[in-house]
Subunit: 334 residues, 2 copies
């Protein structure tokens, strides 16, 4: 063990700016967008889809970045690693995360570089509050081992890895480097599975990572079932008890289950209106990690996750719009 | 008179992307921002202020552009003239206005051009719902006569001019060219005063324009008093009756007065919660012009203005978030 860690959580993921628009239900079929999931799209498709979308708003996003932004707002000491270009969207991303006190120093791809720009995610929100995500990764795809600062990884209690990052060719090497540096200094590793289809694309790699390196697994019901290929959520939860030291599994309006060895704790969902599901999982992880980094009990951690997720679904966009600290206080969470 | 006009309204103004953030009241004093008005800032100040701001959201803005966007959403035939650069913020601006069916074909400043980028306005929203605007004009400052397509100006019922545009050196020549082409084809000219301090900076020019060319004047109580330098709103309204064929004067929570020769009609404010005043005046103009272009009576036009303004103040940001057509139907306005 080294000296006291500087950070509670360091996150690694796809740095993105979200482009959010409300669309009628029929728009998804007309444009060939699959509802409720994240689809990777190329630059050509991104241009075509954007041309068909209505007016939008832009808000910094990225799954792990949203989580880290939430932790920053809660007063956790947090840092983020993800790749943007030195363009206008990159400047917006960097501003928004640093403005919450988060350390963000991943080298930007120079403005003069040919090719990809800062990544963006076109999020189509249907009247039922579901979001369908269309991600053009841009330069975020090229996060590699050179972007991992081992000294940073050795200075955090928790390393938080975004499952989506498995879609990048260099990302496994980057993850390995980050995990080794973090664990060698006594830190722990958390992983979010991100998306059932992402799990499908990289199941073997996820299984190995969970078994060998992960101390805390975040997933929703669909992702955990996809990971373990079980026929029911119950079977997947049982497997989680033996495969990973701790797991926090969200189950939509039913809240979340926190698994720790033989123990399983249920945390109820917070009573918020559902406007837009974007960022619910990301904010659950923020609330939960905030609690764990402070040594709170499992029920408190799970409830912190559910309240932060509730805030995210109560408005359009993933990043918090109310002060999460005030919200936690109102729910008696500290 | 030429053939039937193609457009109900063509707007000319500063093309902007808004960067909106909630701030505590004390932030304004700490950063030297004057509350409730629009301040022009240079690139250096823009960078310094952005660095101090919290996380923000980006939404297309620009005063006349907001009005034209509202008209597009209402189903009026609308076009917009304003200058952006071929950069990411310029692409966002162009997308958002075209997605509402608005014709927007002002030549973009090429990406390779040195110097200014697409303009932006940092809008600080305090807990009382007031907004304090800090505008870096960027390339929008350089809108000149070459950007005015006389054929477009000859094809509209109404030309709508943004007062803020008086801050640009070439804008008066651009306005003159647009007005001449519009009037020669039988079109009419509307002007919004935009801001009492903008009126202060260019009072003589505004007075001449109102007297000689303007058929419909938009202003709030502070702007009309500043224009005519009277000691009371009543005196300013009396002067308006003789100086301009028609005027629509907003008076905050008291609604609006519509002046047409000796007639003065009062339209009440719509019963919406005040969250953020950004865009209230712009949306008033959208609702009013939508009515006038359809030949509705003055009370209907004024109420359309007040309902559209009410929508704008009920959420953060200037552009409509509810369908204005549905909203007008609910208020019995068609």
């Amino acid at each position: 063990m080294t000296a006291t860690p500087t950070y509670d959580v360091v996150g690694v993921g796809n740095a993105m700016v979200d482009i959010l628009a409300k669309v009628p239900e029929a728009f998804l079929a007309e444009t060939g967008v699959t509802k409720g999931i994240m689809q990777l799209i190329d630059a050509e498709r991104a241009i075509a889809l954007y041309a068909k979308m209505g007016p939008a708003r832009e808000v910094s996003g990225g799954s792990a970045a949203n989580t880290i932004a939430g932790l920053g707002q809660l007063g956790s000491r947090a840092a983020y690693v993800g790749k943007v270009k030195d363009d206008q969207l990159g400047a917006i991303f960097a501003h928004d995360i640093r403005a919450l006190g988060v350390h963000f120093a991943t080298p930007m791809t120079p403005r003069s570089a040919e090719g990809h720009e800062t990544g963006r995610c076109m999020i189509l929100v249907t009247p039922d509050g579901e979001r369908s995500m269309n991600t053009y990764l841009g330069v975020s795809e090229h996060l590699g081992p050179d972007d991992i600062d081992e000294a940073l990884m050795a200075r955090t209690k928790w390393l938080y890895l975004e499952g989506y990052r498995h879609d990048g060719a260099l990302s496994l090497a980057a993850f390995d480097k980050a995990i080794k540096a973090c664990k060698a200094a006594g830190g722990k590793v958390a992983l979010t599975l991100s998306d059932p289809f992402c799990v499908d694309r990289h199941r073997d790699e996820f299984r190995r990572l969970v078994r060998e390196d992960v101390d805390l697994l975040f997933a929703n019901e669909h992702e955990i079932v996809s990971l373990f290929q079980t026929s029911s959520l119950e079977d997947a939860l049982d497997l989680a008890k033996t495969e990973v030291p701790m797991a926090a599994i969200t189950v939509g309006p039913a809240g979340a289950y926190v698994i720790n060895g033989a123990r399983m704790v249920h945390a109820p969902a917070a009573p918020m209106a559902r406007v837009d599901a974007t960022g619910a999982g990301d904010m659950f992880a923020a609330g939960f990690l905030h609690g764990i980094a402070r040594g709170r009990n499992l029920l408190t951690c799970g409830t912190m996750g559910c309240v932060a997720a509730g805030e995210a679904i109560s408005h359009i966009g993933a990043r918090p719009e109310t002060d999460l600290k005030d919200l936690f206080a109102r729910f008696g969470l500290d």
